[in-house]
Symmetry: C2
């Protein structure tokens, strides 16, 4: 079970920290529990967890429909709440979910939907009007006679009075027998103005889509009821391709050494996608055959491998995509055993390392619609960034390396139960938070950023990233200096004692260097984007930290180590799984899909490896801000 799905149990240590990095929200009556970064709205958390909350305004506090009841935990009513509720209701904990930012653990009661929603709020405050390209029409057709000899297909098309559709040739094959067996009462299934199926009887209430975030590490699926836009289930699992290496380069290498491996990897991608499809359908009690459309947001390598396209040109200079925009394919070509006629939409890409996942994230973040200049960062082995606003957008990808996945970190581990993800260092104490409050097993990416930031804060790491001398450490704090010891040839800082059955977990000098390299690559990336854009750090009005890793970073510590521009911490936001949100959006709305396509034309890609000044600037960026 992954973070995306919860439930996650809070750890007592975190509660003792003055500013907890995570809060837990428990929803009733569903029983779902989510552990999320501080300050996220209840509305967003519900949306990320496939819980439908009424809304028509897009989370701006104006429609006053997203009413939830805060059963425990503290949320002060705001201006919008005061207008939306009576004093009695406010007393009983009623709040607008879109205004309710979680700064403490919460228990939230979500009322049943009272209206059939016409829009959903997804991504970062994006309001999406429901205009899915998947439509069904129940048709009660007149039976043919000698006066009305219209061909079967014509009869069906004439019956669809509110649109004109092209026809998939497969539909005609079974049409004559089907129409007569069903006494000319059938349901037409149309995707993107193409009649893809005709079904006997009235099946018009059964139309589902699945949005996939096909990540290198984690794959997430959300089942959507496209009759009302409601998310019904979310599931996630590790990409089965993991056995071929943690990052895209190792998977590309595998195919280069043995071309047959491409098809092994393709099969593993298909199995991953199909298993998730099965899980979300099972959870929601939906028949797989009623899924007619899927959307897949993935990086370029994941998408090419899933389609069986040789990824080699992505892995070697000059880093060339097979295609930036794909025609829709059949879902079965991605190994999905859903409706045989189901269509799959693949996100367009900006470059070999700014793939469909990033375009989906940019879409979900409204990068092309917001007048504020914003910086979108998907933190990971390869770190993609987009800077700009509705006027102008620049993108780049920086080779951050594996530090955030913690693969190259001595005591590193991926974000799994027992991973240290929160570190608080005071002169007299070290406090750790682990995922699921399990005994600490290792340190994951967000814990690494915390640890380094805190060590810089107390002065045990200097600006250059070097541990201070033992003497200097003792001057700072005897308690902390005790933890600064040698392990093998290296100086390390002990996060745990390693005694009394505890695992020994430490941060080594080399670990710090790994993180410095990663953060330098990233900050060089956005620094070059800022320069190309002609603005400075302070002009960035919002930073969005995206991706399964970025969303869990502490904004304060990300800023402390210089991973993000130096702006007010409140302007640095967790964006959640925006790639998955983008995938949901294109299922909910055809115009959003067009938006994704036009995004690729709006964004100008800046290639870093071509720049002569990259290495110089990279070295400058290695240091931590003072």
């Amino acid at each position: 079970m992954s973070k995306a799905q919860g439930p996650v149990i809070p750890h007592p240590q975190a509660q003792t920290i003055d500013e907890p990095a995570r809060v837990e929200i428990e929803f009733s009556p569903s029983g779902k529990i989510a552990r999320v970064p501080l300050g996220v709205t209840v509305f967003d958390v519900a949306s990320w967890n496939a819980l439908a909350v009424d809304s028509t305004c897009g989370g701006h506090g104006t429609c006053r429909k997203c009413k939830v009841q805060i059963v425990s935990g503290d949320i002060q009513p705001g201006t919008a709440d005061a207008r939306a509720f009576t004093e009695d209701e406010l007393e009983q904990g009623w709040r607008l979910a879109c205004q309710a930012c979680a700064f403490t653990n919460l228990k939230v009661n979500v009322p049943e939907l009272t209206t059939r929603p016409k829009a959903s709020t997804v991504g970062v405050g994006r309001q999406v009007i429901h205009r899915p390209t998947l439509l069904k029409r129940f048709l009660q057709l007149p039976e043919p006679d000698l006066v009305d000899q219209r061909p079967d297909l014509r009869r069906v098309l004439d019956g669809i009075t509110d649109m004109t559709a092209n026809v998939d040739p497969m539909v005609v094959r079974t049409l004559p027998a089907l129409l007569r067996k069903a006494n000319f009462e059938v349901t037409a299934v149309v995707v993107d103005d193409v009649l893809i199926a005709v079904e006997p009887g009235d099946t018009s209430d059964k139309l589902y889509g699945i949005a996939f975030d096909l990540g290198t590490t984690t794959v997430v699926a959300t089942l959507l009821d496209l009759s009302n836009g409601m998310p019904l289930a979310v599931a996630s699992m590790l990409n089965m391709q993991q056995q071929y290496g943690a990052d895209v380069i190792s998977r590309i290498s595998a195919t280069m050494l043995d071309p047959q491996k491409l098809f092994d990897l393709q099969r593993l991608a298909h199995e991953t996608l199909d298993q998730l499809a099965g899980e979300v359908c099972d959870e929601a009690g939906v028949d797989r055959l009623d899924v007619y459309q899927v959307a897949v947001a993935g990086n370029a390598t994941m998408v090419q491998i899933a389609l069986g396209i040789d990824p080699e040109p992505l892995g070697v200079a000059p880093f060339i995509l097979a295609a930036d925009e794909y025609p829709d394919v059949r879902a079965h070509e991605l190994g999905l055993k859903v409706n045989p006629q189901a269509r799959a939409t693949l996100f367009p890409a900006l470059g070999a390392y700014v793939g469909g996942d990033i375009v989906a994230g940019a879409l979900a973040s409204g990068m092309d619609r917001d007048q504020r200049v914003r910086l979108f960062i998907d933190v990971g082995t390869n770190c993609e960034m987009i800077l700009g606003n509705s006027e102008k957008l620049l993108a780049t990808a920086a080779p951050a390396g594996p530090a955030f996945e913690a693969a190259s970190i001595k005591c590193g581990m991926r974000a799994a139960p027992g991973a240290i993800e929160v570190v608080k260092i005071e002169l007299d104490s070290v406090t750790l938070g682990t995922i699921d409050s399990k005994p600490a097993v290792g340190i994951c990416g967000s814990g690494l950023v915390d640890a380094v930031a805190e060590l810089v804060k107390v002065g045990l790491l200097d600006e250059s990233g070097r541990f201070v001398t033992d003497e200097a450490a003792k001057e700072i704090s005897l308690i902390l200096a005790d933890r600064l010891i040698m392990r093998g040839q290296e100086r390390v800082f002990m996060l745990t004692s390693g005694q009394d059955g505890e695992n020994e977990i430490f941060l080594s000098q080399r670990d710090v260097r790994e993180l410095q390299f990663a953060k330098a690559a990233i900050s060089t990336g956005w620094a070059i984007l800022l320069e190309e854009y002609g603005i400075e750090q302070k002009d960035v009005q919002q930073v969005l930290l995206a991706g399964s890793f970025g969303s869990y970073l502490s904004a304060k510590n990300a800023k402390a180590i210089g991973l993000v521009p130096n702006i007010a911490t409140t302007r640095i936001l967790s964006a959640g799984n925006v790639a998955g949100e983008g995938a949901k959006m294109v299922l909910l709305s055809g115009s959003e899909r067009n938006g994704a396509r036009s995004l690729t034309k709006l964004v100008h890609y800046v290639e870093l490896s071509e720049r002569e000044d990259f290495n110089d600037r990279f070295v400058e960026e290695l240091a931590f801000p003072v």
Copy 2:
């Protein structure tokens, strides 16, 4: 080997007839021999036999390019010839092929093409400008580098500078490896604005299409070089579905009794089409994989079976088509082992019994372009008719029954070697012409029409279709009266003596009735069309007899028995295999294909079985004209 392909050897008897019904044209240097109805132009015969003759004017005698040399046989030079040639040339037999109507046997020398033709004359004097939707472009693409990181697909699409193309998803799969192996020198294959393939190197001179006339009895294939519109080979064979019955109704019945039979029939159609594809490719030395597009003109039943669509609703009232217009399918879905990405265009249909073959015929006859009011008749078991001009078109289908296929005729046979196809009866003699001049085996449809017409002419059959009494016969001619004898319970007219090893072939009273029924159905059909159109027989300015059977009818005798309106014999023309010609046209020109589609919207279908007066009028039409 069928009529469509020749060679056919003339029979001595025919030469003795004052007006021979067939002439033979032998072409050099190809050596092809064709036997054709009287009065057809050399140009048309060459076209039907895949012999390219220069032309740009569409057979109107104005471009003066279609020069051929009449080596033997007689063709008087006309006005256009006098302008086109010197006296010496005329003396040497040079004529314009489009003006040279064959009324005697001919030997014709066809010079090599001097120009790359930009247009072809096909069908009934239709001039088709070459604008195939199959196009190839050889691309020498710049190799990618860090400055030019365009995706592979974008690079290819950018390289196609003269059009914008959509993309078949399959193309992308192999593109990265293919481009690099071919050093970015590739050929793009585009059909209908869709990039269907990218091939290594320059293959731009290899682009072929096959036009199929998928008949219930006979299937004809013409291979076209779509780089210049030239026909390269023609082949024909019996539809392998014959084992399931001679007509569409028996084949539909087979599928109704056992649904599995649909797939047997489908397989047989596929095998027939594919065998012909192999034959034409072999004959022309063309690689099957270089065939990217096919067009199929067939009646509704043949098309539905070939696609695996249950034909039952076509066979029972109210006679409903699965579709009047099909989206393009892949050629491999028709069993064709040509290029795996090849597309197949299927002609739209007007009704269950006015199928794509008739639409193809109407297209090839220019029914929608000619200002003259014309009547197009495809004579067969089911007889389709279209009446009108560019202003207004009416169509219907008449159930003529199997008389013309000769299946219900005592000594009947289909048009194969040894079939009597020409009958001449004088008071003192009976002269027969057989196909390939083989000893007479039976009588085929055109022979039947001839025989009945001649018997009416000499007076042995009265207006009502009854053989006259023996006494009356003797008054007419003792020689002929000798042939009017009893066979079993029936009076018959002996065509052969049945002695000296000769086969006994006769025409029975019931045979005459069968033909009367057929002709009455047909003439009732066009009489109703004339009435609906508000015109009379004399207003019909041209009758086109189409189809493998209709084209071989004697115009004079068709008129004599009332099968066609009573207009000047010179206005009654053999149109040849117009369905196949229509199929060629849609390969040669995308706008002709659009024309076929719009034809279905122009033509109003008149359902005969719905008319209360049909039976009355049918009975009236049974009589022969006096």
